[in-house]
Amino acid sequence: MHDMSAHAHVAHHAPPTGFIRKYVFSLDHKVIGKQYYGLALVAVLVGMFLSWLMRMHLGWTNFAIPGLHLLSSNGAPGDVMTPEFYLQLMTMHGTIMVFFVLTTAPFAAFGNYFLPIQVGAEDMPFPHFNMMSFWVTFAGFIPLIASFFVSDGPTLGGWTQYAPLSAVGTVGGPGEGTGVVLWAISIALFCVGQLLGALNFITTTLDMRTKGMSLWRMPLTVWGWFITSIMGLTAFAVLMPACVLLILDHVAGTSFFVPSNLVINDQLQPHSGGSTLLWQHLFWFFGHPEVYIAIVPGMGIVSHVLITNLRRPLLSHRVMVYSMGALAVLSYMVYGHHMFVSGMNPVSSIAFSFPTLVITIPSTIIVLIWLGSLYGAKIQINSASLFALGFISMFISGGVSGFFLAQPSIDIMLHATYFVVGHFHMVMGVAAMFGIFAGTYFWFPKMFGRMMNETLGKLHFWLTFVGTYCIFMPFHYLGLAGNIRRYQAFVPDYMQPLIPVHKFITIAALATGAAQLIFVYNLIHSRYWGEPAPENPWHATSLEWSTPSSPPPFDNFGGTLPVVYHDPYQYGIEGSSGDYVMQTSPEKIQTKSDES
């Protein structure tokens, strides 16, 4: 027996056979990526549907939505939504969207599919863990959906599940018993799934790069996924024990989060001495990195798509990478800005406000690099580049409101108003969605060997772009006018002039949601009947475009690992096949003398 040397080698010798091994319990990172994408697609349709129900209720509070009683046994008598049911829908909307769409699609779906290919690996080094990561995540989705069908319905405490409401049990309201336990189990499983995924992403990036692929030759997408996986590793590892403690408070009678002398509905709660603020600290220590986990892969994808369509690199590759890294590091120091009005020590507010303002610096640098690269450039317009531009627009529009929220003095007025809701929907929700769309339109030809319909793609973009601005811009106005979030109806006199604004938003939301069906149709139709794609439709340089086929073969490169000779974004120069030189092309690049 001899020492099998430290060989970064994945044991993939033969392609899988059999339906189960090929499509269900697949070890192939590409299949796992597609499975994640499918999960995210189902989740986003569910989450969007829930938002429609919410918006209907907000615009027309006593409207009877046909069939609503089917979704809840006691939440919609006569198809009219009760206030508690509104909160339950809102909680599920937030949970499903943040976890199962915004973390799953940009990071797990595209990352699993393209990270190994873009670094020149055959697969991830731990394919079994990778497969487990998807199925554990999928298993996490089940309890969440199941909570709709338990007698009390799903939990109503918001995706943030603040204690003591989340910890007191059924006395807190419908869904606060089994619903919370199901939520916590679901999220704990999700955490485990993502930890397994992060493990693979980090080891692939550090150890599985092919010959010539140094860290600085990796595309920005890989940097985005790598930085995100480091954040995911540390953040999800904190949320999981928090969920376990929450479950214990429910089923084991412990008092981690429930204080003593708590009276609900004239009943003294049998708990002692827990700390409600403790839950907030644990949750937001995870929660703030989570929003960067949602957006950083999108930044990588947008940079990648933008560069390809600009036909030249960004102003500075290294500053982009350093800025994304700075975002990741700083994201752990700012989490208390969600807690300015929680009753924590006001000195802590200053301690969190300062890094929150500092974190705007790398974000702004990233935006300025994009804008500076766009200045004076000719960009090729296609669906992918439109969504990339839309991402930048949304990120700026949503991001500037963050400057205001970062200051405790202003946040006192704006906390828990629609101003915050507008901020995070634009900067995280819509922007990340645009990143997902950009990635889809860009990589569809590689994943399925067919082109998506361009006309439908452009139509989808314009309807969505205008629609989401119509939905979320008024939120800022509503928030400044005092409209509290998470309320199911607006009763006070000062709220009445705002109801027409809500009606407008509802109509915009329904219309924009309908426009997404264009995308779903395009996706399905192009998958089977789209125009066959050329090998490199975007004339791009990175490794995924040098696979021998689209979709790539099971071992990505047909048995011979590529050798990388160039940096990832050699555009705007004379290459053998056009104005670009692929990373794997052995041709020499003529040095241009630079007089600047």
């Binding site: 970064a8 010539g212 904190v238 981690f256 001495g273 644990l282 050699q570």
Partner: protein, 227 residues
């Protein structure tokens, strides 16, 4: 004024694909390949994925226990209902058992390593030390169970008091991870007996086991100080 068209960015120097210069890196995060290095030697310089993976895993586990630690500190700090109790003395014996198991594991690992490196003629007693580690590991878990028994005999259950709650949560979390480590050890023994064991696998498993040791010592100190 007309829009400015930028010059293409400065391109790198001419590269000869037959030679790979050390400045650009060759895969793996230690760019140590000399000029003219070939593919096989390049890949040897990349650390084995299991080595990186185990550090990643240990980082995640550390974060989890750090979260629980801060929960303990916060919960104790704000509480009037905290009731101190003395730790069951069997915990100190368990600590000794776990530390010994680390020693036996390390002995086994070094013997297997020197066999794999060609310095020893036969595997010899390496497997026996592995079985000893496994036995001590199970002894530790059993000891933890007896510690739980002693606490419940004293009337301290999971929900009795926040201090006992944290005791059970911490020891259960650590115990579950130790069971995972035992499963990994069983896998290593299986592979050793079938001659399919890679050195990196053994090293990673050993690193994980030693970390469980360090973690337990930390937890013992934490529980002893705070509880």
């Amino acid at each position: 004024m007309a829009t400015t068209v930028h010059e293409p960015p400065r391109i790198q120097d001419i590269r000869d694909p037959a030679r790979v210069s050390s400045g650009s890196g060759n895969g793996g995060w230690r760019d140590l390949v000399p000029e003219g290095g070939d593919l096989h030697r390049v890949q040897e310089y990349a650390p084995p994925p299991s080595s990186t993976a185990i550090w990643v895993l240990l980082a995640a586990i550390s974060m989890s226990f750090a979260a629980l630690t801060s929960a303990l500190v916060v919960r104790k700090g704000g509480a009037v209902d905290w009731r101190h109790f003395t730790l069951p003395s069997i915990l100190y014996w368990n600590t000794l058992v776990l530390l010994t198991s680390s020693v036996t594991l390390e002995i086994s690992r070094r013997r297997v390593a020197s066999f794999m490196g060609g310095l020893k003629a036969a595997l010899g007693t390496s497997a026996r030390w592995l079985y000893a580690t496994l036995f001590l590991g199970f002894l530790f878990v059993a000891g933890q169970y007896f510690a739980w028994r002693e606490l419940s005999a004293r009337g301290l259950y999971l929900a009795t008091n926040p201090s006992s709650s944290f005791f059970y949560v911490f020891t259960a979390a650590h115990g579950l991870h130790v069971l995972g480590g035992l499963a990994a050890l069983v896998r290593v023994i299986y592979k050793l007996n079938h001659f399919t064991l890679r050195r990196s696998t053994f090293d990673a498993t050993a690193r994980y086991w030693h970390f469980m040791d360090v973690l337990w010592v930390y937890l013992l100190l934490l529980l002893w100080m705070k509880l």
